[in-house]
């Protein structure tokens, strides 16, 4: 089977999705002619035309706001927000409208759509291009949030999101857009949106991560197991809203030790939410406190210092040792 990188897997998903459903419209800044600044939408305009792969004026509020109208009147918009740090002008529409139309109209009008955003740090980029505000999105009722960590799940999740009856925020870990090659089936396939994925089963410690940090966690683990061959269970969280607690809690009860690794600002983050639910549901199975490895409650530094912010092997290893103590 051929191997694809995440960008290519996403691109293939869009091609196949748009072939399958002629109501899908991709819109965003520089997505049409240029194919997106990360080339995720390459070739779409050529194949499907300017009305289905649309270069919009520079306005995230306009993109997401119009998408709401497009969705209400029969289309399935796929908004591309160029960088995580630029989503905020459109955030008003996400939190005030996208997630609310179904409730507001008691089911009569819904706004199924996908909002794709390159997400997270580690690419030596400029300010506002390295954000991890997934907790903010996950906190909003009425909208799903997913994040793939490899090419196979990227394609399946995006196709799954394109079929969803609910709006999805699709976070794309930009650091690993091209860093991983993996076998990806050529055919159309979907992956369920609200399920976590167990990458490795184990009995001694549960390690939960997602996005680009999953790979960093694996690097730390590869090093760790050389001297300390622990039987770890590694979970790719995948769905940040809703969180697949069936999988998480079953694992937590089994191992009694849980490490959560991500790059978000620490306070009031997703890791804190998971820790709260774990202590609520299985306090008496715990062998150690739930350990979180996260970023800091600071602004992400510019490229020279960004590796001090984003958890690296050192911080993850320390977390491993803490949870195994």
């Amino acid at each position: 089977m051929r191997e694809l990188k995440i960008v290519d897997a996403l691109n293939e998903a869009l091609h196949q999705g748009m072939e399958q459903n002629d109501k899908i419209i991709v819109l965003g800044e520089d997505v049409g002619k240029e194919g997106g600044v990360f080339r995720v939408t390459t070739g779409l305009q050529k194949k499907f035309g300017v009305e289905r792969s649309v270069d919009t004026p520079l306005s995230e509020g306009g993109i997401i706001g119009s998408a709401i109208g497009l969705s209400i009147n029969g289309f399935f918009p796929v908004c591309e927000i160029q960088f995580d740090g630029f989503i905020w002008p459109g955030f008003d529409h996400i939190i005030n409208h996208v997630c609310r139309f179904r409730t507001r109209t008691r089911g009569r009008l819904t706004t199924p759509m996908v909002i794709r955003v390159p997400f997270g740090g580690g690419i030596h980029a400029l300010e506002h291009h390295s954000e991890s505000m997934e907790a903010v999105f996950s906190h909003i009722p009425g909208i799903n949030v997913v994040i793939p960590s490899d090419p196979f799940s990227a394609k399946g999740l995006l196709l799954g999101a394109l079929e969803s009856k609910d709006p999805t925020i699709f976070l794309e870990p930009k650091k690993i857009y091209r860093a991983i090659k993996q076998e990806v089936p050529e055919e159309y396939y979907t992956i369920p949106l609200n399920k976590a994925r167990i990458e490795r089963e184990g009995s001694q410690v549960t390690i939960i991560s997602y996005g680009a940090m999953l790979r960093e966690t694996k690097k730390a683990l590869a090093e760790f197991i050389k001297t300390n061959p622990i039987d770890f269970e590694l979970i790719d969280l995948v769905s940040l809203s809703p969180i697949d607690y069936d999988t998480v809690i079953a694992s937590a009860k089994k191992t009694g030790r849980i490490l959560i690794v991500n790059e978000e600002p620490r306070t009031a983050g997703l890791a804190a939410e998971i820790a709260a639910v774990i202590q609520e549901k299985c306090l008496f199975d715990l062998q150690a406190p739930v350990i979180r490895v996260t970023g800091f409650d600071t602004i992400m530094p510019l490229l020279k210092n960004e590796d001090y912010y984003i958890p690296g092997i050192k911080r993850i290893t320390k977390g491993l040792n803490q949870v195994l103590a």
Partner: protein, 375 residues
């Protein structure tokens, strides 16, 4: 006039009201003045006499219903309510030319408009009473829920109009909003996108002169709101919003521009908010009584009434009958609305997503237990 736009000028010439409107020398398009006199005979017969009488009856209904809602709030039987007093012509004019499948994206001060468009008055009342069953519209009525965010709904209207063009559909979208909304960023992005993507959307601004306490003159330095359209390369016009004939004439053109030519427009209807911002507001704090008194004679009902009486199209008795009938209907509706049961306690879970998930279901059961257990 030749406006600075990439639009086809030849098309625009077919729409004389829009074509004539000059942003550098703005005028307010009017057909009937506040005394009920026709000042622009070219448009005197925009609607028939019979239609004029029917419109007047509707204005009465709206006014009576609106007054009733204000009273209900004062009686503690309704929540905060925004009155449309003084804006009845706009409430009808914005959607007068619409076909049933056309879309309406309203603001919140819109009880007359959505009722006229086809939402039962009972639903309107239920919504302001705070009962979410008031949001249950029929499937085949293309009206969006009232927009509480100011200006947030404009891009939605753009999207709907854009989608319609993509579908090669025949429906237009009227987006109604007030002068206050024109300051929000959403106004800018909505009109910009609508023009760029040729959305079949008409942006109908009810300039009622107040955004709570902020006078229109403090909202923007532009002389008119209509002229802002030209910044986006789309036509705009300012019209007397209390003149139903002018409104209908303008909207006829606007709708056709959208429907037949995919050209969005901005219509600024100049009117006045006679009542308070809402029932929780006291406009005496920021308005001179004199100003309100100045505007009262320009009331849309007064001039239409004068016109109808002058033409012998209506008698006092008929008018009284209309009022009585309206009152009766409104009272009956109030009764039904107040007797409507509250929504189920777990409805908040029912309409959140297409399907629930375990953690959510757990919460729903907790809620049920909280309120049904004899604890």
């Amino acid at each position: 006039m030749k406006i600075m736009t990439k639009l086809n000028q030849e098309i625009l010439q077919k729409f004389p009201i829009f074509d004539a409107w000059n942003p550098t020398e703005p005028t307010m398009f009017q057909v009937m003045d506040h005394n009920g006199e026709i000042v622009n005979s070219e448009y005197a017969n925009t609607i028939t006499d019979q239609e004029a009488v029917a419109v007047y009856e509707w204005m009465l209904k709206i006014r009576i219903a609106d007054e009733k809602c204000v009273n209900m709030q004062r009686q503690g039987r309704m929540g905060t309510y925004p009155s449309v007093l003084g804006q009845e012509a706009c409430q009808i004019g914005a959607v007068y030319n619409q076909q049933k499948s056309d879309w309406l994206v309203p603001t919140f001060r819109e009880s007359g408009m959505i009722w006229y468009k086809g939402i039962p008055l009972e639903k309107v009342m239920l919504y302001w009473i705070g009962n979410e069953k008031g949001s249950e519209y029929a499937e085949d009525i293309n009206v969006l829920p009232v927009a509480i965010t100011v200006g947030g709904h404009l891009p939605h209207a753009t999207g709907i109009g854009w989608a319609e063009r993509l579908k090669n559909g025949n429906n237009i979208t009227v987006c109604s909003f007030s002068d206050g909304a024109t300051s929000e960023g959403d106004f800018h992005s909505a009109l910009n996108f609508a023009a760029v993507f040729n959305a079949k959307t008409v942006f109908f601004c009810q300039n009622n002169h107040y955004a709570i306490s902020t006078h229109r003159d403090m909202q923007t330095k532009s002389k008119t709101i209509a002229e802002k359209a030209f910044a986006y390369g789309m036509p705009g016009v300012q019209v007397d919003g209390n003149d139903i004939f002018a409104l209908i004439a303008v909207m006829k053109e606007a709708n056709q521009l959208a429907r037949d030519h995919n050209i969005p427009t901005l219509v600024e209807a100049v009117t006045y908010r006679i009542g308070d911002h809402t029932t929780s507001d006291n406009s005496k704090l920021y308005r001179e009584d004199g100003e309100v008194e100045d505007w009262k004679p320009k009331d849309p009902l007064i001039r239409l009434r004068a016109y109808l009486f002058k033409k012998g199209l209506i008698t006092d008795t008929q008018e009284q009958e209309m009022k009585d009938k309206a009152k009766e209907y409104v009272e009956a509706t109030v009764k039904t609305a107040l007797e409507t049961k509250d929504p189920n306690i777990d409805d908040m879970f029912k309409y959140l997503l297409s399907e629930s998930y375990p953690a959510l279901e757990e919460q729903r059961l907790q809620l049920i237990e909280e309120f049904t257990n004899n604890q």
